[in-house]
Each structure stands twice: as C-alpha cells, then as structure tokens.
Amino acid sequence: MLDDAVYREFEEVVGPDNISREPAILDGYTYQIVFNPTPSPWLNRPAAVALPCSTEEVQGIVKVCNRHHVRFKAHSTGWGVFNAPGYEDMIILDLRRMNRILQIDENNMFALVEPYITCNQLQAEAMKKGLNCHIIGAGPNTSVLASCTSVGGVGWTGISMGYNCRNVLGVEWVLPTGEVVRLGSPGSGDGWFSGDGPGPSLRGIMRGLFGAMGGLGVFTRVAVKLFNWPGPKRIDARGLMFDIKAEVPENIKLYILLFPDMQRFLDATYDLGDAEIGWIHSRNPAGMLFTFLFPGLMRETAGRPAMRSAMESIKHMVSFGIAASSPGELAYQEKVVREVIARNDGVLIDMGKLPQFESFMLFGLMRSTLSAFVFRAGGNFASSLVGEETTDSGAPQVDLGVRIKQEYIDKGALIDDMADTVWGSIYENNLFAHYESLMTFDSRDPRQQEWIKVDEEVVDELIDRKWGIGIGLSGAGTVVHKKFGPHMCNYDKWQRRIKKALDPEGLSDPIGYTEPGD
C-alpha cells in the first residue's frame, strides 16, 4: 500500500482520473501468462497504476518516486511477464495515453513516436508516405518504441529492414533519477535524425541485445528508421484473416521456398544474402504453420505416420518476398531467386498463382498478422531462443532445440507440433540470423506447465557445448544474468554497475534488468 500522502502527490501529477489504486484495476496489471514460468497467472499486485500523458508527467511521477523511495516500471502495450511489477508497493506507468506519431520525416526516412504507437499504426501511416517500418515477430499490436528501446524482438522483414534495436535514432529518456535525457542530435535541439553522441553513444547504455525491460527508467520518445515502401498508400482488403481478399500490388511477389535439407537451406540463405535481394525472409517449418493455422487438423492427424512424413519433407520451408521499386528491379530479383533455388535444389512456389492464399500471406508477413496464431493451438506459448549469430551457427542449435523439445512432446507436456517449430529470419541481408524455437501448450492443463524446463535444458546444453547463447528464460533479469554472465565476460557485472550509476536506489523495477551493484 502507498501512503495516502504519497498517492496524492502522484495524483497531482496526472490528475485523479489517471491514477488508480482500485484492486480490480490493479489486477489488470498483475495478470500475465505469457513467459510466466509459474502456474499462477498472478504476479505482484502493484500499489497504483498511473496513466501519464506527457514526458513531463512521467518525469513528475519518477520524481515523486525518488522523493519517497517508491519503485516504478513503465510499459507500453503491456504484453508478457516482463511488464508485471517485480514488487508490490510499486507504481506502474501505463503509457497508453502517450499515443502520438509526432513526425514522419519522408525524405530522411524516420518516424518519431511516443510509447503507445503500435507497429500497425506506424506502418499504416508510413505507407501513405511511401515508407514502411520493421514489425517485430511479437506482432503488429506491439509498441514501436518498446521494440526499439526496451525489449527484444525480431521480425520477418529483417532481411530488408533490419533489427529494431539497430534502427534507433534519437531517444528521449526519463532516467531512473528523474532527469530527462535526449540521446543524440535531439539532445542538442538538432532534430531527431541521430541517436549517437556527441562522443560515446549512450544507446549502448540504454539497451543491448535486449532492452532493460523497464529497469532503466522510462523511454518517452524514439525516432526509428523507416524504409522504402514501393507499394500503394494503402492496401484495401476485405475480410479479417483467412478470408482476406486484397489486390497484391504488381511489384510485390511472395514465394514459398522448400529445401530438401538443412544444408541447402543454409546455402541458399547465404546466396540470397549475398545477392542483396528480398524484402521478407522467414523460415517457417510446416509443422509450425499447420499447428498455428489449423490446430484442429493437427490435433487429429499429428500422430499419423503419413502426416508426419509429409510434413517432415517440407519442414525446411521459407517464406520469401520481394517488393521492388521498378519493373527492372522486380525482374532482376525474381531471376535471382529462381536461380538460387535452382542451384540449391529447392522448390519455388509462386504465391501469385494462389491468389487467395497470397492475400492472407501478404498481410501475415508484411504486417505480422500471423504472430498471434501462436496462441491458437493451446492458448499459450513460449520460446527458447537458440541462436543469434551466423546463419550457419543456427543449424546444430535447431537440432538441439528440437531434440529437447521432442522429449517433452512425448510425455504430453507440450502440444505436438512436429517439434521443429524453429522460425527465424536473417537480418540486414544476412549479417546474422535469428532462430527461435516455439513451443505451444495449454497452461491451464496441469501437465503442460513445464516449458521453462525446456528452456533451461536448451540453455544449459548450449553453454556446455559452447555453442552459443540461447536467450531463453525470458531473456533478462538477474537469474538469467547469473547463469550467462560467467560464460560471457561477466557482462552482468557491468550491468549491475550501469544500474548503480543510473539508479543507485534501484527504483526502476530491477526485476527484468538487474540490481545495482559493483
């Protein structure tokens, strides 16, 4: 419970309508099942929730927190366990009232957004100006800002639009102690085109491979790179999902690529990367697609040998897309992809020949509307990330993840999805690759509450074999760091020091980051 006087101070910052300590309201911020390793959906119930609408209000709240030693954490769209309070007695800042696109700079290809602008909204507006944004795999309903500043996340257009952590330009940041810092050019009042300097780039303190998950203050604005969108200002569609009917623009092509084995998938991926073509690239094994899109069918047939062998044979399946700015570019890219497939013994399915499915796939990939299908089979999912290095390095990790996962499928702890549900994308024309092994389960079923063990086993074995670092176990927080740190140059020590330098009192909820220390 918060002291009444302290509560009133918060109230003065945001106004009485924008703060609550009603238990029923607070429970809305206490419940999380995604990536929650415990059987209970409830985490700590915060003492209050505030809805600031400006940087000044965020700063005001943080200052009250500092005066009275109250912990705080902000979230944007609030999906996943890392948004839950690490403690009771703390205040949650729900940033949903900070929901403006402040600027889309058409020429210089970036957008300046507040925390509660979702990828979907930004994409819709960017397209009107011939631009597009990278949407992370978590889906179009996630915050653009959060993917840039606070969490991790990768998506299907990474081949052409990069990784959002690397797409960050200027950032506005309310430090745990209440000062407002604008990283890069906006810090000197020079516009939002750069997030680095003068001198060392504090973007490296702001976040790493993962964001600080609410543990380093509150990010209130971010400028993020946009990319060329050669399509129309708006693609009008009828329908909601499977029934979507849209006219796929002529300069956009979608393919499904099939490879006979892992090696040829890898070789082709390197070829596509070197050729610098492609707009969308994503490995989507057949078992995964079937489980997500047709869970009923999968339930009925997964046990049948015929079904299994049919799906095994198309498990090295890649969704590939081209968005070209000119007929010449389109012709060139098409020619290359066909050649790459031919040289690597692959099969190319031109989705343009299957127009109904093409519409569905267009939105599915361009806008990541497929993401939430991960919930369809059992209502919940988790992932053990098995790689974030070269494309080749993922292959043995995929096998490892699949093997461990299969044991749990066999004992009924996970839904049978053919085990290989390793989806992944390549970034920046194959600078590096992301592989992520998904597991689906029904967390309401007492037998299906063991996903965290799969994660742990994968991580342990990867470390033992010195194969790489799966970013499992929800990716962040002291427990993870204690496990990984000793194998990774004791990076955890630096994080504790950063935390100490920025937040000596540990008020910005350390649960998803780390405690201050030496």
Partner: protein, 424 residues
C-alpha cells in the same frame, strides 16, 4: 456464479490486447486503429475486453470484491462486441462477450446494479418499454398508416417497431417510412400496436437475464399466436435480441426474423421496390453493432474444450448483416457511398449500447462523437445507419456541434429515393 463456467476462457487470456484494436489487416490509420470505446475512453486495462476477463478471474478467486467501484468498471462498456471479433480471429477458446455478460449478471444477482438501470427495468415492468412511457401509446406511431392489427387479423409479416421507434418522436419518419415501404411493396404487414412489448434485450445487456427470459417467453407466445411467417424489425437492437439473445436463453421464435434492411434488399431483388428518384448525396454507412457482429445468429455448442469448437459455432461476428444495407445503398440513384475506416465487423460503436446511454450519457456522447469525426473525415454529407439507437446518438452528438452532417436511417433515405418521404 455462472462466471465460473467461463474460467477456462478467462485463464486463456494472454493479455495480448488484440481486443483493443481493429483487426490488424484493417488498420488504415493511426487515429482509427482502436475499436473498443471503453478502453479508449477510460484507459486502464480493466476497461478492455481482456481486462474484463482478468477482472472476472479476480472475482472468481476472491481477489477483489464486487463493490460499486467494480460495478462501475463493469458497466462502462457498450457491449458492442468488437473486442470479441478481434480476439476470435486468433482464439477459438475465449468468449469475451459472454464473460462480459456474466459480469453483469453477477452485478445484478449481487445487487450491484446501477440506479439508472434499475429504473429502466422498473419502467419495463410497468409499461413494457424501456422509457416508462404509457403502454397505451405504443402504437401511436402507426396512426393513419392503415396497417393491420395483428391482434385482430392475421398477417404474413409481423412488424416490430421496438421501444425507441415507438416512442422517439424525432424518429417517427424512420418507422413510418419503413412500414410504408413494406406495405407499399405489397407486403401483408401487421403490427401489435399497444400490445407490442419490449424485446428485453436492453435489460439483458445490463445484467437482468431473467427479464429477457420473461420477455422472450412472452414474445414467443405472441408470435406463435399471430400466425405470421416472418418477424421484421427496423430496430437493430431488437434484431440482435431476437437473433442472438433469445436463442442463447433457449427461446426460439419459430419464424424467420429479418431486419428491415434484409427484407428490403430481398424485395428489391424481386423488383418489388424500385427506387428511382435521384438523391444526390454522398453518404457513409454506420454498421449498427446489433445488426452486425451482435446480430450474428447464436449457435449453442455443447462441447467441453473450446479449443476443439468447430468454427461454425464460434461467434466471430462475420455472420452479421453487413452486405444488405450496402446493397440497398448501391441501388439508390445518385447516392454515393464512401466508407469509413472502421466498418462491418470492426465498426466503431455509437456508444448507446450496454446500458451506457442510460447510465453514462457523457460516455455515450464521447463514443458517438468519435464516430461522427470518422464520418466527417470521409467527406460524406450524411451518416446513414439502420438502428434508431445509433441515429439518436449521432443526432444528439451533432446537436452540440456545428457540422454539416445529416443523420439518416437507411429507410429514410430509401423513402426519399422512392419519392415517398412520409411526414414524421
């Protein structure tokens, strides 16, 4: 609490908040991306579809008590069903709207009703309408139209005006127009006049399930007694009650139920209604919730595990009435339809539903104004709808602003195009 029966649904919520948004493929701008008036207006997560599921779990687990404050959250929802549409795109195993209804039943059963709703239900008990207007005046709207009295003579089609159109004098033109269009087309039409009663739908939505059951039972016996083959209503609210709520409480009317737009479209197809007068008007069409997603016929599924529920039994909103009104509009000479961004299954609600019009007029008005803004952005000269509750909301909202936007029921527009605009 029957809320318990939905515990599995509730525990399936991933808090993804997809319920707050227009289905993704249909998001066309930053401003018209949200679909839920409640969360958009009140902001705390508990005001969203998913937040209401979580609230249900809090109640089930006795983490919170059902207090007046909690009831206030529960009732600040227009029950438009948009959250359900967005959620169901991905989920087979969560019936968001059913849980929202259960929360309201719980309020009523535990005496946590809102006074405004108690008054409405008292009015219904007394006068068989939601306004407490004299029962005897219910049929006054039909004066001089020469319609058959179903209590005295048989008719093929029973025309049910509904409370709003029976008593809202500002909407007289709508109901008279609708009835005239049908009878002019040669439909054998009868009305129940003063004996027409409320459908009970609005009582149900504010949590008085028992009231709906009473009305449904009564209504079923009247329909049966009338011997009609079709029940036609110009009120989407009533339509939704007949199509979705009555079957849900186990009451079937045993006749074909049609909204007047469905019937008119059919008659147009048969050439029995031929609009010929040019009405040069750029219009946008507002899908009433209870004609669209909440007018979807209910189908009971008896299975245990909703993950296995066949999609035919899934209330996804896609089987509502969306095409008929647009088809009619397309047949009106010189009328041009310009669509808003949020339409069909994902239309933004006018704000009148779920007892909000009665208890939270300011919220009703806010929601209506959002929609009016969206309509204005299309450049339309008129916003056309097919539900008197929507029409009332928009008309009231526009009263306070200086905008050039006409609010019309589709039947009013059709009447113009037939050259037979009746006096109100």
């Amino acid at each position: 609490m029957a809320l318990r029966e939905y515990e599995r649904d509730i525990r399936g919520c991933s808090r993804c908040s997809i319920c707050k948004w227009v289905p993704f493929a249909q998001i066309k701008s930053v401003d018209c991306a949200t679909v839920c008036p409640s969360i958009s207006r009140y902001n705390f997560h508990s005001y969203s579809g998913g937040g209401r599921l979580i609230l249900g779990l809090s109640l089930l687990e006795d983490r919170v008590e059902l207090t007046e404050e909690v009831a206030d959250i529960i009732y600040k929802c227009v029950m438009c069903g948009a959250c359900e549409v967005s959620c169901k795109i991905y989920r087979d195993d969560i019936d968001v709207l059913r849980v929202i209804e259960e929360l309201r039943f719980a309020c009523v059963e535990n005496g946590m009703m809102l006074p405004e709703h108690m008054m409405m239900v008292d009015a219904m008990k007394q006068e068989d309408n939601v306004f407490g207007e004299p029962k005897s005046a219910r049929g006054d709207w039909a004066k001089d139209l020469g319609l058959k009295d179903i209590n005295k003579e048989k008719a093929d089609v029973l025309f049910h005006a509904g409370c709003r159109l029976s008593y809202d004098e500002g909407l007289r033109g709508v109901v008279r127009g609708a009835a005239s269009i049908l009878s002019d087309a040669g439909v054998d039409l009868g009305i129940a006049g003063a004996d027409e009663a409320c459908c009970g739908g609005r009582a149900f939505e504010v949590g008085y399930r028992g009231e709906l059951e009473k009305y449904a039972e009564d209504f079923a016996s009247r329909v049966k007694a009338s011997g009609c083959s079709k029940l036609v209503t110009p009120c989407s609210d009533c339509y939704g009650a007949f199509k979705q709520l009555y079957p849900m409480v186990g009451k079937e009317l045993g006749v074909e139920v049609l909204h007047v737009v469905e019937y008119v479209e059919m008659l147009m197809g048969q050439g029995r209604i031929r609009p010929t007068v040019k009405v040069p008007l750029k219009v946008t069409y507002h899908d009433p919730c209870h004609l669209g997603r909440r007018g979807e016929p209910y189908r009971e599924w008896e299975g245990e595990d909703k993950l296995k529920r066949p999609s035919a039994f899934k209330m996804s909103g896609t089987r509502g009435v969306y095409d008929a009104p647009r088809e009619i509009l397309s047949r009106l000479p010189a009328v041009e339809l310009v669509e808003m961004e949020r339409i069909r299954e994902y239309a933004w609600c006018c704000g009148a539903g779920g007892g909000v019009m009665e208890a939270y007029p300011e919220f009703n008005s806010w929601s209506a104004n959002e929609r009016v803004d969206e309509a204005l952005a299309t450049g339309a000269q008129a916003i056309v709808t097919a539900c008197p509750w929507c029409e009332r909301s928009f008309t009231d909202a526009l009263e306070e602003r200086d905008e050039d936007l006409e609010v019309l029921d589709l039947m009013e527009l059709l009447a113009r195009s037939l050259g037979s605009e009746p006096d109100a």
